[in-house]
Amino acid sequence: MVQGKDFYGGTVTDAIAEACQQLSISQDALDIEILETGSSGIFGLCRKKAHIRVTKREEQQDVAEQEQAQEARTQSGQKSRQKTAEQAESADPTVRKDSGRKESGSKEDGKKTAPRSARHAEADQPPPELPSEERMAEIQEDISTMLELMGFPSTVTVILKKYTVACHISEEYEEELVGREGRTLDSLQYLLRKMTSRHLPDRIMLSLDVGTYRERRAEELKELALELAAQVREEGKTQAIPALNPSERRVVHMVLQEDKTIRSRSVGAGLFKKVLIYKPGKKKSFPRKGKGKKGQQAERTSES
């Protein structure tokens, strides 16, 4: 530990500057304790000087830093040594190359292997275990019971579409079960997922539809997206579709993906975000414009 030294100055800043100069050290390396802030007094009378006490931080900190750095170095050294050892088994020339650029080499390798192994895992994953017939029957039973309790008795069919348990409710109470903007149906689907997830094998998904709602909604969105895209292309103004859930946003992005003259992206937080459709190269202005368009847009959406 270095002992604290006292410095005085007209202001604290002056005192610090003085300290730095005298010790020829940067302010970062000093622990500064302010004992008095000083005051300019009245009309130059009763002037108090700022009083600070500084302690050199340099040594302890530097030691710690050096230790850390050294540790890091030895670690990466070890890594690259391990690497070289591994590679030495396979091919000799790579060893020289690798040891030549030790650190960067090992870092790069680390970065590269991670995503690669992830991709491998995905590709190598065996197809998920499928839910049993009994499980599917139980899900069907659950939905029927819920609908009955709600007072909307309907016919429920549950089939397996690839890795998705696709549940379908007959159309008698479609309007009630869909709700405004599909909120009720999405809530039911969400609850159903929660209720069944622990009984379903991993990576098996669940979808819930009533009548032909999902299909119709997707078609509507596609049409709206294309319509707005055409408008954007013509007028250059950013357009927005408000409050879409993830799967609805997906539909919009997918249908607009092909068109290189316009772009789409989601903005906002939470489950429901709005999708902006804009011409590329307008990035700076669109958040404001998007907002300004909102009201107008809502009208347009409800019209269609």
Partner: protein, 76 residues
Amino acid sequence: MKELISFIAARLVDEPAEVHTEQHEDDGTVTVELRVAKDDLGKVIGRQGRTARAMRTVLAAMAARDEKRSRLEIVE
């Protein structure tokens, strides 16, 4: 209406036996009170209250059939 909430909640929690619901109606508003085991509270509320919100939406759809309003109270 409480039967529906009981049914859903029982499937969400670890201790279905601890699920209790009560229901009372006042001036066209049906209030369902839901009680679950302490450790299951999080399960019926969900992250950011999403599960609770979903249950409320479903309850509201059911109440709308009788032109009523609904409330779901999760009692600690």
